[in-house]
């Protein structure tokens, strides 16, 4: 039986697109559809191979991108107008989404109650005690996938087959292992999780274990600069045994 991680990927397809735009350092108005489409599908493939559940909207956008790309390959027809419109709509949509992301950032920079200023008494419903620097960035799924790709490249797999089988290594074991490492050190680097591993299976299992821990909010993935090295830190919480 193959282990399957149910992950609420609330980062949607637009988030991925924006991420690719940033990574490629291009303007939204100049999105090279072919390249972006290719990279986007790479991510979907990877998520698929990892058996990650993702929202149907990812596929809708994939189809849109593929469609726009396919039409660009054909000789100009009357339908060119529709393709232009699609492309335009997409860019427009992306821009709007980006605007709100930036608005969200601006809001975060306001003086915030219970963070920058305090009043006499206050019952905070949400106390998330972070043991980290305010300037740390919470890593998103796509950055993790990027980092995973890097690790996979380094690892030789004798079988050469992309497969996670439960009999050999369990994700549960890996979860326990990661938590064990974090008991000794409050923060470990993403790379160090995969240091002694030699097979693709182990790498995948470890990665899935990390995702599970993130999902259960027992750990956090952070980096101090965008696209910088990723650290995994423990969340200060009661000792909840992992439920898998």
């Amino acid at each position: 039986m193959v282990y399957q991680v149910r992950l609420d990927i609330f980062e949607g397809p637009l988030e991925l697109l924006l991420y690719l735009v940033r990574k490629n350092e291009i303007e939204i108005s100049e999105i090279p559809i072919a390249t972006v489409c290719h990279q986007y599908l790479e991510y979907l493939d990877l998520m698929n191979a990892l058996n990650l559940d993702f929202a149907g909207e990812f596929l809708v956008l994939a189809a849109t991108l593929a469609y726009i790309k396919s039409r660009m390959l054909l000789p100009a027809t009357e339908e060119e107008e529709m393709e232009e419109e699609l492309h335009f709509d997409l860019a427009q949509h992306l821009l709007e989404y980006k605007r709100y992301k930036e608005a969200a950032n601006t809001l975060t920079r306001q003086t915030i109650l219970e963070k920058d200023e305090f009043i006499r008494s206050y019952v905070t419903e949400d106390l998330t005690p972070p043991e980290t620097d305010e300037s740390d960035i919470e890593v998103n799924l796509f950055e993790l996938l990027d980092a995973l790709k890097g690790v996979l490249k380094r690892v030789e797999d004798k079988k050469g087959i992309f497969e996670v089988t439960k009999e050999k290594i369990t994700v549960t074991e890996k979860v326990v292992e990661i938590l064990g490492k974090l008991k000794q050190q409050k923060s470990i680097s993403f790379a160090s999780l995969f240091d002694e591993l030699t097979t693709r299976e182990e790498v995948i299992a470890t990665f899935l274990a990390l995702l599970e821990l993130l999902r259960q909010r027992m750990v956090r993935a952070l980096q101090s600069t965008p696209f910088g090295p990723i650290r995994i830190v423990r969340r200060v919480a009661k000792e909840i045994p992992p439920t898998i």
């Binding site: 609420d8 990927i9 609330f10 980062e11 949607g12 397809p13 637009l14 988030e15 108005s29 100049e30 999105i31 090279p32 072919a34 390249t35 290719h38 929202a55 909207e57 956008l61 790309k69 660009m72 390959l73 232009e84 492309h87 335009f88 860019a91 427009q92 949509h93 821009l95 709007e96 989404y97 605007r99 709100y100 992301k101 930036e102 608005a103 969200a104 601006t106 809001l107 975060t108 306001q110 003086t111 915030i112 109650l113 219970e114 963070k115 920058d116 200023e117 305090f118 009043i119 006499r120 008494s121 905070t124 419903e125 949400d126 106390l127 998330t128 005690p129 972070p130 919470e138 998103n140």
Partner: protein, 188 residues
């Protein structure tokens, strides 16, 4: 009651109030003219600002509230042993959409984000940063969301007018979109 005493009463009321105290409320209690109240409030604000005090009087969410100065936040954090009320990135995004486009429905939010947002909206409702303003008069009669006074309080805003303006990159203009950029040759 003389002037100085009135000012002291206002000061005490603000201190004891659980939420930012409005001028209307002060008027209701003290039965003074609004203009008079405002003068006293201005004096209080100045007094607290001039001395080297640990907290100051802030105008927020349509009312007045004492707040510790940002310079000393780190001390309060040590006292309380916990850091901030922290909102996740998706929550901030959804909040930003609601803030600038209110009243807005869940479907409209989900369209912009491109992904399901029910959970995030529920969290924001739980934290009382947003509320249901009513229903939209379309089939399905979906809820319309908007921000609350608490939202203003948490983000240190006097009113929605204080919001920083949205980025001005409003619309993509016709022809601004480059359809055939350099990588066309790399298409497989």
């Amino acid at each position: 009651m003389n002037r100085e005493e009135s000012k002291a009463v206002i000061e005490a009321l603000i201190f004891a109030s659980e939420a930012p105290l409005t001028v209307d409320k002060i008027k209701e209690l003290l039965k003074l003219q609004k203009s008079e109240i405002n003068v006293l409030l201005d004096e209080l604000v100045t007094e607290y600002n001039s001395a080297v005090r640990g907290f100051y009087l802030r105008k927020v969410a349509n009312g007045y509230q004492f707040r510790t100065k940002t310079e000393y936040a780190v001390w309060i954090q040590r006292l309380k042993k916990v850091k901030a009320l922290r909102l996740s990135q998706p929550m901030m995004e959804v909040l930003a959409m609601i803030v600038y486009k209110q009243p807005i429905t869940r479907v409209e939010i989900e369209y912009i984000r491109g992904v399901d947002s029910e959970g995030v909206i529920k969290s924001l409702l739980d934290k009382k940063l947003i509320t249901i303003l009513g229903r939209k008069d379309v089939p399905g009669r979906p809820f319309l969301f908007g921000t609350t006074a608490k939202f203003l309080e948490v983000f240190g805003l006097e009113s929605l007018k204080d919001l920083p303006a949205l980025d001005n990159i409003d619309q993509l203009k016709e022809g601004e979109l480059s359809l055939f950029p350099a990588d066309q040759d790399k298409i497989e």
